[in-house]
C-alpha cells in the first residue's frame, strides 16, 4: 500500500499543480461582460467555426500583471485546459436545475404527507392477501407458497430521503429520487429474516402503500420495479402527475426500522433460507450443514443501511468540494459504457463509495478538482483487481466478517463502512473485468494529443454491439432451468430465491472463459435491466427476462485458430482437458513428435475460421449446460454473405485477394529483371484496391471459353458478341511502373506521352518474349494476361506532373500553375500507389481490415453512393477506425468494424471537424492542432468531407471531387435512418440494410440483366444466370488469346449519361450487379432560365412576349435515356408523381 501510495503521488503531483491555472482560466471565462466586450464572441455564426479575428488594439494592448500570469499558465497546458472547460460544460448539462429541484421537493413533501395517512388494518395471516383491493398485486414471486407469520398495514414510522439526491450527486437523465419508508416495528418480527418472510412482508407493505396512494390525485403513474434488478428488493416508482410526469421518478423503498435486525445474522456464511422450507420436503437437516445464503443475506442487509451510507457520504463530500462533480463525471463515464444499470451494475452509488474510499485512504486529496477525481478513480480501477483483493471502508477489526470470508462468498468485494455488507454482491467477475478494461483503455487515450480525449472519454456511447467483436444471445431463458439442474446448483438457486438466470450466469461465464481462454481478451455480458411493471400486474416471472447478451473481444492472433492444443496425454491435466471438451477431445500426434490431447474445429477459409468461437461456444453450452444450439443466437458474421466470392466454397475473399497479390508479386519480380529496356525501372507499385485486400469482389482467375467470343481481325483478341450476353467482366489491376529519370526524356507533355507509349510497346514485347504472356500495348497502358488475371501496367515518369504544370507566358516567363490534369496524374501515379502500400501494411497489422473495407464499400454500393464516396475515401474512413479506435479497441471482426463505419458516417460533424487519418502514426499532436486551425481558417473553400493524412494536410485530395453538399446531406439522412435498425441485432434483416431504398428517386432506368456483366454480385442473388464465356477448370498461367478487358456496358452508359445530363440530374447506380439506375433531378433543374446560347442543353424554348425562356425538354431527355442505352436499357420508369416540369 505504501509503495502504491508513493507511485500515486509522483504521478498525480504535477497534475495537481497544473490544474490550478485551469481554475483561474475558468474564472476568466466566467468573468463576463468586461471580457466579452473585448473578445467579440459573435464569431460563431450558423453553427460554423470561423477564424478568430482580434483587432490590433485588442491584441497588442498592454497586459495587466494578472492577465499575463493567467495566459502564461494556460499556455503550458493548452490541451488540458480545453478538456477542463469541456468538462465544466458537460457538468452543467447533467446537473439538475433549481426549478426541477423545487418540483422534486414539493412532490416529495406531498407524497410524505400522503404516506402518513396510511390506514391501520387488523392483524391477518401473511399468506392472506384478500385485503388488497383495486386489483393491486404484490411485487414478489411467491414461490414457495408456504409462509408463516402475521401482517397488518400501519403508517410508516418515518419517511426520509436517501441516496443521490440529498447528496447532490443526482444527474440527468433518468433522475430518480429515493425515499426510504420505515415499516413500523410491530409489523415485523425479529425472526422474520428467515425464509423470505421479511422480503415478503416488505413487498406486501409496498403493495399496501400502492393501494393507498392509487387513490391520491397528487400522484401520476405508479409502477413496481426492483432495486438493481434484485427481485427480492421491490420498489415502488411514483411519477408526478401532469406534464412533469417524465421529468423524474420517486422510488419508494420499504425498510425495517433502524437497528431492528442484528447485522451479524447476515454474515455471508450464515444460512437464512432453510432447504426443507424451500424444497417443501420434510427432510430436516441440522442448521449447521445448511448451505450459506450470502446473496439473500446481503439483500436484506442492504435495506438496513441506506441512511448510514448517506450520513457517511455526506460527511465525506462536505470535506471535498468537487466530490459531487467527480461522482457526476464518473456516472456519465459509466453510463456511456452501459455499466450503470441492471443486475450487478457498477452503479452511481458504488461510484460515490469508491471516491469516498479513495479520499479516506488519501489516494486523492480533498482539494482536487472533478477532473482529477475522475482520472484517479479510473487509475485506481485500472490497476486494482477487486476480484482478488477486495477493499473495505470499515475502520476497525471488530466482529465483522473478514475480507477472505467475503471473497469465498462473492466474486467482487467492496465492503461498506459498517463492515457487514458487500456492496458488489451481485456483480460478476466479468463485469468488474469490463470496468477495469474500460478504465485502462480510457487512461491510454486520455493524454494522447492526437485524439479528442474528452469526446472519446465522456461523449461517445459504447453499446455492446459496437464494442464487442462478436456478440451472442441466449434466448429462451427457460432452458437455463435445466442448466441449473445439470450443474447441480440447488443451494445457489435457493440463495437467489429461484432466479435461475442469475444463478446460472456466473457458471456459464466461467465455463466460457475457460473454453475460450486465450482467444478472447475480454468476455462481457449484458446486465439484465430492471423490470418495470404496472401495479395491477403480477410480478414478472423469471422467464420473462430479456435475452442475455454476451460480447467477445477477440484476440486477433488466436481467435481464428482451428486447433486447441491440450496437455500431453500422460500429464495429470489431460483428464481435466478431456472433461472440458468431452467427445471433441482426441489424441493427436504433432510434427514435433508430441502426442497431446487436442480439439480441432472445422474451418478452411478465413471466413469460416473467424466463426470458430461460435462452434466452441455452442459445443460447450450444449455439453455442460444443456443449452441447445437453437437457443444461441450468434451474431458474428451476419453480413459475410454479401461479400462472399465463391458460391460453392464459403469464402469472403481473403484467399482470393492473397492469390492476386501473389500473382502481382511474381509479375513485379519479372518486371524488375527485364533486360533490354532503354531506361531502367525504378519502382513497381500496385495501385488497385485488390492489391491492398480491399476490393469488394477481388478478381478471380478465369478460364475462357473461346467459342463464346468474336475475334478481332488482326490481333486475334477476343471481342464481345452483339447478340450474346455481355461477357464476363475482367478487372484490370493497375500497376504503376516508374522509369528512371534521364536527360533523354523530352520536356514536353505530348512528347512524354509518346515516349510512354513506346515504353509500353517494348515492355510488352519483352514480357511476351521472355515469359510468353499475352500483351496488348496501348498509348496509355499495357495489358498483361497472366494467371487468368489482367494486369494493366502504366509507365510513369516522375517529372511529368511538373511538366504539365509549367507553361510559358507571352513574355517568355516560365510559370508554374497547378491544374487538374497534373493533379489527376499525380494522384494516379504517386498518391494512390503510396496509399495502396500503406493500407497493405495496415492489413498486415489488422487481419480484418480488408473485410471491413469490403463490407463498407459493398454497403455504399448497395445504397448507390459508390460514386460519391470513392473506394479510396471509403478505405481511408475505415483505416481511421483502425488507427484511432478510441474509445474502442481496433475492430476485431468485419461486422463490428462495419457497424462503427456506419456510426462514423452518421455521427461525425464534418462541418466543424477534419477527420485526421494518422497513417503510420506520422502525425503528432502539434500537427493535428495545425490541421484543425488551417481547416477552420478556410472551411468554406474546403471539401464537404475533409480528411487529412500525413502526406496531405491541407487539401484532402481524396474527397475533393466528391461528395458534394447535396449528396452529403442526402447520404447523411440515409445513414442516420440506416444505422438505427441494425442495433436491434437483427440477424435476418441484413439484406434490408443492404437493399437500396428506391423511393426517393425521380426516374428509374431498368437495365436488361443479360447485359449487366456483374449480375452475380447483386445483394439478392439473381433468378436467371447467363453464360458469360467462362469454363471451370485449371487456369493456364501464360499464353492464350487476350480476353475482353474492362468492358462493362453499364459504365459506358453511365459515363455518357453524366456527360450529357450531368447539369440536370444525378445518376446513382450499384456497381456490384445493380440492374437499376436511379435518377434524381437536381433541385433547380426545372426552373426556367433566360435564353442564352451557352445554356441551351437539352432544353426547349418557351416564348412569352419579348422574353424567351428555356426549360428542360424532359420528354426528349427520357427518350434519350432509351436511345443512348440501346440494347442495355429494358425500360425507363418516370415517377411523375414525384415531380412536375
Amino acid at each position: 500500500h505504501l509503495l502504491e501510495g508513493e507511485r500515486f503521488s509522483t504521478q498525480v503531483g504535477p497534475l495537481f499543480l497544473c490544474i490550478l491555472p485551469c481554475m483561474r482560466m475558468q474564472r476568466i471565462l466566467n468573468e463576463g461582460p468586461t471580457r466579452a466586450k473585448r473578445g467579440k464572441p459573435e464569431v460563431v455564426q450558423n453553427g460554423l467555426l470561423r477564424p478568430v479575428t482580434l483587432s490590433r488594439g485588442d491584441l497588442y494592448k498592454p497586459p495587466t500583471a494578472d492577465e499575463l500570469n493567467q495566459l502564461k499558465e494556460a499556455e503550458s497546458l493548452f490541451h488540458c485546459s480545453l478538456l477542463k472547460m469541456q468538462m465544466e460544460e458537460l457538468l452543467k448539462e447533467v446537473s439538475l436545475s433549481e426549478r426541477r429541484k423545487q418540483l422534486i421537493d414539493s412532490f416529495v413533501q406531498s407524497v410524505t404527507e400522503q404516506l402518513q395517512t396510511v390506514p391501520q388494518t387488523s392483524d391477518m395471516e401473511l399468506s392472506d392477501l384478500s385485503w388488497l383491493s383495486g386489483g393491486v398485486k404484490v411485487p414478489f414471486v411467491l414461490v414457495p407458497k408456504a409462509a408463516k407469520g402475521k401482517f397488518h398495514m400501519a403508517p410508516p414510522i418515518s419517511v426520509t430521503i436517501i441516496g443521490s439526491y440529498p447528496l447532490g450527486t443526482c444527474t440527468k437523465p433518468g433522475i430518480s429520487v429515493d425515499l426510504a419508508v420505515a415499516i413500523p416495528a410491530d409489523v415485523l418480527h425479529p425472526k422474520d429474516a428467515l425464509n423470505q418472510r421479511y422480503p415478503r412482508k416488505r413487498a406486501i407493505y409496498l403493495a399496501g402503500l400502492a393501494q393507498h396512494l392509487a387513490a391520491s390525485p397528487a400522484i401520476g403513474a405508479m409502477r413496481y420495479s426492483c432495486l438493481h434488478g434484485n427481485r427480492l428488493r421491490p420498489i415502488l416508482l411514483l411519477s408526478p402527475p401532469g406534464k412533469d410526469s417524465s421529468s423524474f421518478t420517486l422510488r419508494l423503498h420499504a425498510c425495517p426500522p433502524p437497528g431492528f435486525f442484528k447485522p451479524s445474522r447476515f454474515h455471508p456464511q450464515r444460512n437464512n433460507i432453510r432447504t426443507d422450507w424451500y424444497t417443501g420436503l420434510g427432510s430436516s437437516q441440522p442448521a449447521t450443514s445448511e448451505p450459506p445464503t450470502p446473496h439473500y443475506n446481503s439483500s436484506v442487509l442492504g435495506d438496513m443501511l441506506p441512511s448510514a451510507h448517506l450520513q457517511f457520504l455526506t460527511a465525506v463530500s462536505s470535506q471535498c468540494a468537487a466530490f459531487a462533480e467527480g461522482v457526476a463525471l464518473l456516472k456519465v463515464w459509466l453510463r456511456q459504457r452501459e455499466l450503470d444499470q441492471g443486475v450487478g451494475c457498477f452503479s452511481g452509488f458504488l461510484g460515490s463509495m469508491l471516491l469516498a474510499y479513495l479520499l479516506s485512504c488519501h489516494r486523492v486529496s480533498n482539494t482536487m478538482t472533478a477532473y482529477q477525481l475522475l482520472r484517479n478513480s479510473l487509475h485506481f480501477l485500472a490497476f486494482n483487481d477487486l476480484t482478488e483483493n477486495g477493499i473495505t471502508l470499515a475502520k476497525g477489526p471488530d466482529s465483522t466478517p473478514s475480507l477472505a470470508e467475503f471473497h469465498t462468498a462473492f466474486q467482487v468485494v467492496f465492503v461498506d463502512p459498517s463492515g457487514h455488507l458487500n456492496m458488489c454482491a451481485d456483480m460478476t467477475a466479468c463485469t468488474y473485468k469490463q470496468v477495469q478494461h474500460e478504465a485502462s483503455l480510457s487512461l491510454q487515450f486520455w493524454d494522447d494529443p492526437t485524439v479528442d480525449g474528452f469526446h472519446a472519454l465522456l461523449m461517445t456511447p459504447k453499446p455492446m454491439i459496437r464494442t464487442s467483436d462478436h456478440v451472442f444471445q441466449l434466448c429462451e431463458l427457460v432452458k437455463l432451468q435445466c442448466c441449473c439442474k445439470k450443474l447441480n446448483l440447488l443451494s445457489e438457486l435457493m440463495d437467489h430465491s429461484g432466479n435461475y438466470v442469475l444463478t446460472a450466469l456466473p457458471f456459464i461465464l466461467s465455463l466460457l472463459q475457460r473454453g475460450l481462454g486465450q482467444r478472447v481478451r475480454l468476455l462481457t455480458h449484458s446486465l439484465t435491466p430492471d423490470p418495470e411493471v404496472s401495479i395491477l400486474l403480477d410480478a414478472p416471472k423469471h422467464n420473462t427476462q430479456p435475452p442475455l447478451s454476451f460480447g467477445l473481444l477477440l484476440n486477433p492472433e488466436q481467435a481464428a485458430s482451428v486447433l486447441e492444443r491440450g496437455p500431453p496425454a500422460d500429464s495429470p491435466k489431460a483428464e481435466e482437458f478431456r472433461q472440458l471438451w468431452g467427445s471433441r477431445s482426441e489424441l493427436r500426434r504433432f510434427q514435433d513428435g508430441d502426442i497431446t490431447e487436442a480439439v480441432v474445429w472445422e474451418g478452411e477459409t478465413t471466413c469460416q475460421k473467424r466463426l470458430v468461437p461460435r462452434q466452441l461456444i455452442t459445443h460447450l453450452l450444449q455439453l455442460h449446460a444443456d443449452i441447445p444450439e437453437s437457443c444461441v443466437r450468434y451474431i458474428g458474421g451476419m453480413l459475410d454473405d454479401v461479400i462472399k466470392v465463391g458460391r460453392e466454397v464459403c469464402s469472403t475473399g481473403e484467399e482470393e485477394s492473397l492469390k492476386v497479390v501473389q500473382s502481382y508479386d511474381d509479375l513485379s519480380r519479372k518486371l524488375w529483371t527485364l533486360e533490354g529496356l532503354p531506361l531502367s525501372i525504378t519502382s513497381v507499385q500496385g495501385a488497385h484496391p485488390a492489391l491492398r485486400y480491399t476490393q469488394v469482389f477481388p478478381p478471380v482467375p478465369l478460364k475462357l471459353d473461346y467459342s463464346f467470343f468474336d475475334r478481332e481481325k488482326l490481333s486475334r483478341s477476343l471481342v464481345p458478341h452483339e447478340v450474346k450476353p455481355c461477357p464476363v467482366y475482367i478487372t484490370p489491376i493497375q500497376v504503376i511502373c516508374h522509369m528512371e529519370g534521364s536527360g533523354k526524356w523530352p520536356h514536353d507533355r505530348v512528347a512524354i506521352r509518346h515516349i510512354k507509349a513506346a515504353f509500353h510497346i517494348s515492355l510488352g514485347e519483352l514480357l511476351t518474349q521472355h515469359h510468353h504472356y499475352t500483351c496488348q500495348p496501348s498509348p496509355t497502358h499495357l495489358d498483361v494476361w497472366k494467371d487468368g488475371l489482367v494486369f494493366r501496367i502504366q509507365v510513369a515518369y516522375h517529372r511529368e506532373p511538373q511538366v504539365l504544370r509549367e507553361s510559358v507566358s507571352p513574355e517568355g516567363l516560365l510559370i508554374v500553375r497547378d491544374n487538374a490534369e497534373a493533379q489527376a496524374l499525380e494522384m494516379a501515379t504517386m498518391q494512390r500507389p503510396l496509399l495502396t502500400s500503406t493500407l497493405h501494411g495496415l492489413q498486415q497489422l489488422h487481419p480484418c481490415f480488408g473485410a471491413v473495407c469490403r463490407l463498407a464499400k459493398r454497403w455504399l454500393g448497395a445504397q448507390l453512393f459508390s460514386d460519391d464516396i470513392t473506394e479510396d475515401t471509403a478505405d481511408l474512413l475505415v483505416a481511421s477506425l483502425f488507427l484511432q479506435p478510441a474509445p474502442f479497441t481496433p475492430p476485431g471482426s468485419p461486422q463490428v468494424g462495419f457497424l462503427r463505419f456506419l456510426h462514423l458516417l452518421s455521427s461525425f460533424d464534418w462541418r466543424n471537424n477534419p477527420l485526421v487519418v494518422n497513417l503510420n502514426s506520422q502525425l503528432t499532436g502539434e500537427h493535428t492542432h495545425n490541421i484543425k486551425n488551417d481547416f477552420i481558417a478556410s472551411r468554406e473553400s474546403l471539401p464537404v468531407m475533409f480528411m487529412a493524412t500525413p502526406n496531405d494536410k491541407k487539401v484532402s485530395i481524396w474527397t475533393k471531387q466528391a461528395p458534394t453538399v447535396q449528396v452529403r446531406t442526402h447520404t447523411c439522412s440515409t445513414f442516420t435512418s440506416m444505422s438505427h435498425p441494425i442495433s436491434y441485432l437483427c440477424s435476418t434483416l441484413y439484406t434490408v440494410v443492404m437493399r437500396p431504398p428506391l423511393d426517393p428517386y425521380d426516374v428509374l432506368i431498368h437495365l436488361s440483366p443479360k447485359q449487366v456483366p456483374l449480375l452475380s454480385q447483386a445483394v439478392d442473388p439473381p433468378h436467371a444466370t447467363f453464360s458469360r464465356g467462362i469454363l471451370a477448370g485449371r487456369v493456364a498461367n501464360t499464353g492464350g488469346a487476350l480476353p475482353v478487358i474492362d468492358f462493362n456496358p453499364v459504365t459506358h452508359y453511365l459515363a455518357e449519361l453524366r456527360d450529357a445530363f450531368g447539369d440536370l440530374a444525378l445518376f446513382f447506380y450499384d456497381p456490384y450487379g445493380g440492374t437499376v439506375i436511379a435518377v434524381l433531378w437536381k433541385p433547380k433543374a426545372f426552373t426556367p432560365l433566360p435564353f442564352k446560347t451557352s445554356q441551351m442543353v437539352a432544353r426547349r424554348v418557351e416564348v412569352s412576349g419579348e422574353e424567351a425562356h428555356t426549360v428542360p425538354n424532359v420528354e426528349a431527355i427520357l427518350e434519350d435515356f432509351r436511345v443512348m442505352g440501346q440494347g442495355l436499357v429494358k425500360s425507363v420508369e418516370p415517377r411523375t408523381e414525384r415531380w412536375v416540369v
Binding site: L59, L71, E93, L714, L814, V1123, G1125, L1128
Partner: protein
C-alpha cells in the same frame, strides 16, 4: 435587339434573339423531339477563313449521338456542306497543336454541343431557316443508321486495339517531327545569341525584338528565389535583439499569440455549447 418579326409563316418558328427552332428526332418511330436552334453565324471580331460569315450556320443543342458526319449528312438536304465543327461551348476558332495520330487524340465527351456548319453556298442558310418547324430532322434512318448503346460500345472496343507496329510507327514519326522542331528551335536561339556577339571589329548589333535571348526562359520560381535570397541577406545584416523596442515587440507578439489561442478555445466551447454538444446522451 432582335427584330420583332411576327410569325410570317406558319411552319417556321423564330424566337426572340433571331434563332429559328428546328425539331430533331432520333428515328421515325420515336415521338419525342429535341429542339435545335439555328442562326447565321455573325461575329464581328472573327477574321478566320474557317467560318466565312455569309455561309456559316450556328447551331445550338446538338444531341450527343450526332457526330460531325451525322450532322453533315443531316444538313446536306439544304445544300452541299463544306465542313462541320462541333464544340462544347460557343467561341472563336482555335488552332490545335501539331496533328496527332488517332491513338493520341483524347476521347471526346458525349455532351450536347454547338455546331458551326459551313455550306458551300450562302443560299443553303436561308433554306435551313425556312425549314418548317413541325417537320423534324431524322438522325437515324434505314439508309444511314446511327449506332448507339451496346452496338456502339462494342464497336468502340474493337477500335481501341492498337497494332503495336502501327503504334510504334506513330510514335516514331511524332518523335522525329518533335526532334526536328527542337533542332530548329535550338538553331534559332543559337543564331539570336550569335547576333548579339561582337563582330570582328568589336561592334554589337542591337536589335529590337523579343527579350528571349537566353537559351532557357526565365522562370517564376527562380525570380522568387532571387527575391528571397535578397531578403535573407538583408535580414542577416539586421540585429534582431539589439534595441529595447525589439525585445519588447517580441514579447508583445507572444502575448498576442496567447490571447488568440485563448479566444479560439473560447469560441470552440461557445459553438459546442450552442449546438448542445455537451449533452452526453
Amino acid at each position: 435587339m432582335a427584330p420583332s418579326r411576327s410569325k410570317h409563316a406558319n411552319q417556321t418558328c423564330v424566337i426572340p434573339g433571331g434563332f429559328t427552332v428546328l425539331s430533331l428526332q432520333f428515328s421515325t418511330d420515336i415521338v419525342a423531339q429535341h429542339k435545335i436552334c439555328v442562326k447565321e453565324h455573325r461575329v464581328r471580331a472573327e477574321k478566320t477563313t474557317q467560318r466565312p460569315l455569309d455561309r456559316t450556320l450556328f447551331v445550338l443543342n446538338i444531341p450527343p449521338y450526332c457526330s460531325e458526319g451525322v450532322i453533315k449528312e443531316l444538313f446536306s438536304q439544304f445544300g452541299p456542306v463544306q465542313s462541320v465543327e462541333l464544340r462544347e461551348k460557343p467561341g472563336s476558332f482555335e488552332h490545335s497543336g501539331p496533328k496527332l495520330a488517332k491513338y493520341f487524340t483524347p476521347a471526346q465527351k458525349q455532351r450536347f454541343r454547338v455546331g458551326y456548319i459551313v455550306f458551300q453556298k450562302a443560299i443553303s442558310i436561308t433554306a435551313v431557316k425556312s425549314h418548317p418547324h413541325d417537320v423534324p430532322l431524322v438522325v437515324s434512318t434505314e439508309q444511314r443508321p446511327v449506332w448507339t448503346g451496346l452496338q456502339k460500345w462494342i464497336h468502340q472496343y474493337k477500335q481501341s486495339f492498337a497494332q503495336p507496329d502501327k503504334l510504334q510507327e506513330a510514335v516514331d514519326t511524332f518523335m522525329q517531327d518533335y526532334d526536328t522542331r527542337k533542332e530548329q528551335e535550338a538553331e534559332r536561339q543559337k543564331e539570336e545569341a550569335e547576333e548579339q556577339l561582337e563582330d570582328e571589329e568589336g561592334w554589337v548589333k542591337v536589335t529590337r525584338g523579343k527579350s528571349g535571348t537566353k537559351t532557357r526562359p526565365h522562370s517564376e520560381v527562380s525570380n522568387q528565389k532571387a527575391l528571397q535570397k535578397e531578403s535573407r541577406k538583408r535580414k542577416r545584416k539586421e540585429l534582431m535583439n539589439f534595441y529595447t523596442w525589439q525585445h519588447r515587440n517580441t514579447q508583445k507578439e507572444h502575448i498576442a499569440e496567447l490571447r488568440k489561442k485563448f479566444e479560439e478555445d473560447k469560441q470552440r466551447i461557445a459553438l459546442l455549447r450552442a449546438q448542445r454538444k455537451f449533452r452526453p446522451y
